[in-house]
């Protein structure tokens, strides 16, 4: 069936961030290596919640009054460390051997 083939092609192409993240191997640590220092700063001083926009893995999600940090999907790129306008993110490397494990590129 032609329709089925097109569907299959679409499935192979990761379009959403969830589909893209699903392609990656992670060995999550039990503790987060990313810490929002003061959630009040996000509420009071950061109307745009910029980290929720530029983070390439959608690690940061704003949940009404606090920032949810999905560190398990972090690429360890460092963008949030440099890009947070209020230097409100404490950024460390995950424990040795943990975090993202690139297989190809």
């Amino acid at each position: 069936m032609e329709g089925d083939e097109i569907n299959m092609e679409e499935n192979k192409n990761a379009q959403t961030i969830e589909e893209k993240q699903y392609l990656i191997r992670f060995k999550a640590d039990t503790e987060s290596h990313l810490h929002v220092l003061d959630h009040d700063v996000c509420i009071e001083k950061c109307p745009d919640k910029l980290c929720t926009i530029f983070c390439p893995a959608e690690v940061y999600k704003w949940e009404d009054i606090r920032m949810h940090v999905g560190y398990e999907g972090c690429h360890e790129c460092g963008s949030c460390r440099i890009g947070c306008p209020h230097e409100n993110i404490k950024w460390e490397y995950p424990k040795g051997g943990h975090g993202i494990i690139f297989r190809l590129g």
């Binding site: 530029f54 390439p56 360890e76 460092g78 440099i82 890009g83 040795g96 690139f102 190809l104």
Partner: protein, 431 residues
């Protein structure tokens, strides 16, 4: 008494491994520490490996290394929404050994390379984070790791810990990077059968193509997209300065979809299977961002030393060359038995005298200028597209009038004076 080495190298990317390999080969006792499960597991690159600087570390490496394709064609696309103006240089002699450069997949290549250093006598320890340098009486004497009893000592520590280099910041060698000093780049590895790649890119099995895309690929922001051919996959990526990403409020994963769905791009990747998605920062600050490169018992190499030429997308070659120069400095210091700041200062001289220092100096103002003057990417690329398309659309207008119209595309919108000023400014920072 903990074990002591001649050299500790932190990081197993191209800069660290070049240094570890060269030092081990000279008979020095080398420890290389990598935080990932294996070398390459944290590393990302578009995929162009330059032969010259790699060959200086391992002669005829291509006979053994996991390289993908020899690059015989380099294309540049000035992209608008539904058109593009392109240039290309193709030279089949680039496929003859020694080739000009290759595409590689970093996770595979870095493992192979680090293993070469191990074969040369270096000790590699994976899955270990270096938390800080151990400093005694103003001298770096070793590193503290996240392993139990994790202190290790050496005469000299080489920081090859990548763009974020937390270690050099802790030593005070580097201020925190600013969003305009780094490019946030995301990439997908897209699987396609070898024959399909050969057909779509007009190449044979071992020939590769690179395409750099400017303009609409980054929605007019300072940055580029790229498509590189591997044996049976493509690396497709896009990046802009982090500051542009923030200013334009772009989500990187949406920007890469924008590129994938662009009418000039989508036929090339049709039917491809996404195999991996990767994000990474590229140090783009250039000459002005170079940190303090040496100190008592310590040297900085590669991305940690901000050695990337963003204009020519060169970085891994500078990493290898800096690792090699660091090794030469260390070998000379070992002979002298002196790892003081004074002795290690010859490393900085060597860097500045090499193509690294010269090229970074040549383009020292380019990135800042294009960041502050967005018209080059935002306005001129669409104008070039309109002028060229208009010129080649046959509609009964005389060629002389066509020429006039093409020129007017620029001067009407900007004014002659502004165009001349913009051209002069671009020439000045690129010359």
């Amino acid at each position: 008494m903990p074990e002591k080495f001649d050299v500790i190298v932190v990081g197993a990317g191209p800069s660290g491994t070049s240094c570890a390999y060269k030092c081990a080969q000279a008979g020095l006792k080398v420890l290389q520490i990598e935080r990932g499960e294996y070398p390459g597991s944290k590393n990302v690159m578009g995929g162009v490996l330059y032969r010259k600087q790699m060959e200086a570390v391992i002669p005829e490496f291509w006979k053994d290394a996991p390289v993908e394709r020899a690059i015989v064609e380099q294309r540049a696309w000035l992209l608008d929404k539904d058109s593009m103006v392109t240039t290309s240089v193709k030279n089949n002699s680039w496929e003859e050994e020694p080739c000009n450069n290759y595409t590689i997949l970093r996770a595979k290549f870095d493992q192979w390379f680090a293993n070469k250093a191990v074969e040369a006598g270096s000790l590699l320890i994976n899955e270990t984070v270096v938390l800080e340098c151990i400093v005694e009486e103003g001298k770096v004497v070793g590193v503290r790791t996240d392993r139990p009893d994790g202190d290790v000592y050496a005469d000299v520590v080489v920081l090859a810990d990548g763009v974020n280099s937390l270690l050099s910041k802790k030593l005070g060698y580097h201020n925190e990077l600013k969003p305009e000093e780094v490019a946030l780049t995301v990439m997908e590895v897209l699987n396609l059968p070898k024959e399909v790649i050969n057909d779509r890119f007009n190449v044979t099995d071992n020939q590769g193509v690179t395409i750099e895309l400017f303009g609409d690929a980054t929605k007019g922001n300072l940055g580029t997209a790229f498509i590189y051919t591997n044996k049976e996959s493509l690396n497709l990526g896009v990046g802009t300065t982090l500051s542009s990403m923030i200013k334009a409020k772009m989500k990187p994963y949406e920007l890469i979809e924008y590129v994938k769905n662009h009418p000039m791009v989508s036929p090339l990747i049709k039917g491809a299977e996404s195999a991996e998605y990767l994000a990474h920062l590229i140090p783009e600050g250039g000459y002005y961002s170079i940190p303090k490169l040496y100190g008592n018992g310590v040297l900085l190499v590669g991305d940690a030393a901000q050695m990337v030429n963003g204009i020519h997308r060169e970085g891994s070659n500078m990493a290898m060359a800096s690792g090699t120069l660091a090794a030469e400095t260390i070998i000379a210091a070992k002979e002298k038995g002196d790892f003081s700041e004074d002795t290690l200062s010859s490393y900085k001289t060597a860097i500045l005298d090499s193509f690294i220092g010269k090229d970074l100096k040549k383009y020292k103002d380019a990135n800042h200028t294009f960041e502050e003057q967005p018209q080059y990417f935002k306005d001129y690329i669409p104008m070039i597209n309109r002028a060229a398309s208009g010129f080649l659309t046959v509609d009964g207008t005389s060629k002389r009038d066509k020429q006039r119209e093409a020129l007017k595309t620029f001067t009407k919108e900007k004014g002659t004076f502004t165009v001349v000023k913009d051209l002069y400014r671009a020439w000045k920072v690129m010359k």
